[in-house]
Symmetry: C2
């Protein structure tokens, strides 16, 4: 699984949404302007989040997106899988079936040792992402970012939140 830009964008959007006051919505237009990415394309990623139940949307003027759950209950893994799907990094093309020494009617009962190791690594990757929530991210960002930028960003966003 090759993580595309959509994932980076989605994570940034969630970070922004997670410090929006309760009940306010932010439009795709504002989110795209804030991050400097094309609005139409960002919409695709947001649709993924919407279908996964991570964000809630409303239509019409002053519509947009907000988190559908408390920030503490949304993990990085949720966001990544909502945008990327759940394909594993390793895809087996069953080349063992080409072994000229195998009887043609032989049927493998389980995935081979190679695939099992690769999938175990994927599982470790997922567990790491599942251990971090948007609330954790928010807390880290508060410490990382200079207060000045944080203040001006919040102001900028509230100005556009419907």
């Amino acid at each position: 699984m090759n993580l595309k830009n959509q994932v980076e964008w989605a994570l940034h959007c969630c970070a922004v949404l997670s410090n929006l006051p309760e009940g306010r919505y932010l439009s795709a237009r504002s989110l795209s302007e804030f991050h400097g990415v094309p609005k139409e394309y960002l919409g695709k990623a947001l649709q993924g989040l919407s279908k996964a139940g991570i964000v809630h949307t409303t239509l019409g003027p002053s519509g947009g997106y907000r988190l559908a759950l408390p920030a503490g209950e949304i993990t990085f893994l949720n966001v990544v899988e909502a945008v990327e799907g759940r394909k594993s990094t390793f895809q087996c093309s069953e080349i063992r079936a080409n072994n000229p020494c195998r009887p043609g009617d032989f049927c493998d009962d389980k995935p081979c040792a190679i695939a099992r190791v690769m999938w175990k690594a994927d599982e470790a990757w997922r567990q790491t992402l599942a251990a971090v929530s948007l609330a954790d991210l928010q807390q880290t960002l508060q410490q990382d970012l200079p207060a000045e930028i944080l203040r001006r960003s919040t102001e900028w966003l509230l100005d556009r939140a419907g």
Copy 2:
């Protein structure tokens, strides 16, 4: 990082080479026939293993490939990185620089919280792969595969080893 077929092929080739008797070589032609993949293309993956020092090669008739190290000292991670390179699954395109509220001369001193989480997950993935050696794989395969197939495969391979 999206794992391509080359990785699957390389791992299978290493598995085969790791139960080849000491000092024998197996040509790319034989390896490609055994796995049912195009010879020229498989060669690319094997060249990666060669440049990484995982396999040793000789030219001329009866030439080919053998492991350059004991099977216990070659990990899955070594093979994967030899073929795929060491790019991480998550690539940051620095969209935080587009934030309209940031002063233009502001310079970030460290990667942001989002990237740090993603890279930590990559690290967990790598550690899992680094924990399994080709010797471990060989042992598992001996238990998994029916003895009949194992015997005929070994025979097939020794027949072609130079």
